[in-house]
Symmetry: C2
Subunit: 165 residues, 2 copies
DNA sequence: TACAATATGTTATATGATAACATAACACTT
DNA sequence: AAGTGTTATGTTATCATATAACATATTGTA
């Protein structure tokens, strides 16, 4: 697979390779296969560095692999698999997908989405998790899934704006 | 407009009428109009009692008003207006819309979505809001919008399950 | 009334996701 | 290695959600 056309530091490249290796280990432990397709999708998401929609992923698959045509079910099935094993997140407010930086973590992951640069940073947060659990218990609500997506300007973009614009 | 076909207690009917009145006041203060279409959409959402998708709303508009055909842009524009003035929320994890039970409140609204009965309950929550603000400030992230959607079983459904099933 | 601004109607199309069925790859048994 | 069940992918069609672009109508105001 040819590398996607984004600027990547060497350390990020290394981190992405490690993320794929971790994914492989997780799949092995669950006795499921990180097939070529699934690995390609995960790698594209890691390398791109920003959330990608399913159709953008289809285009990248066609551009960066030897596949000629990729139909929607192909990529959606790969995404479903990666979601199931918590290797990626779906960002509902963007209809886009992004790697899960820590698939084994159980608690709440908050996603900070920069409306300026498009980067979505994930952060574990026990405080928010506790607040949600308390809130839910007050309603006797049994939590199964939670979507926490914060949009705004990231620190980097805010600093840049202050200096230039 | 004929009432939508759902069971409604008198107190809920009254509450919904008041919610529409509040919406009118809010629009007056902002010098914008809660037109017939917009009021119909808001009323349908209030009466239905559960989140509704845009296309379901189109069907209900056709069924419950004297409109013959309602095209997508018609309902989406009404939804955009109601969203802008915070009279409704979009639930991203469902692609559906639900009334905002307190349009004037500024802080975080958490939405508890029951996967069993479909009811989405909204709850203001200062604790979660503070936790989010703290989390964001640690990343020097400037919050503009937040989506907090919790899915699971509501208290009522859990009680019913315990007794019957 | 005439005008500008706002709102709605109408047609077409973009974007996101899945159903249903066919084929291929894998993994296990004999 | 051949057969068999399971898992994964390919393929076509379609559903579901949302918007662009332009036409017409309604409203508020000079």
């Amino acid at each position: 697979m040819t590398p996607v056309d984004t600027v990547q530091t060497n350390s990020r490249k290394q981190a992405n390779i490690k993320a794929v290796q971790r994914a492989k280990h997780i799949c092995e432990k669950s006795n499921v296969r990180l097939t070529t397709l699934r690995e390609q999708v995960l790698t594209l998401l890691l390398d791109y560095g920003k959330p990608l929609g399913a159709y953008a992923l289809m285009d990248l698959l066609e551009a960066n692999t030897d596949r000629d045509r990729v139909a929607p079910p192909t990529v959606y099935r790969a995404l479903d698999f990666l979601l199931k094993y918590r290797l990626i997140h779906k960002i509902h407010s963007l209809n886009a997908y992004t790697p899960n930086s820590n698939p084994l973590r159980e608690d709440c992951s908050v996603i900070l989405i920069c409306t300026n640069c498009g980067i979505a940073e994930e952060t574990p947060n026990n405080t928010i998790q506790q607040a949600i659990n308390l809130c839910a218990s007050q309603y006797r609500f049994g939590v199964e899934k939670q979507v926490i997506e914060i949009s705004g300007k990231c620190g980097t973009c805010r600093t840049t704006e202050r200096n230039h614009g």
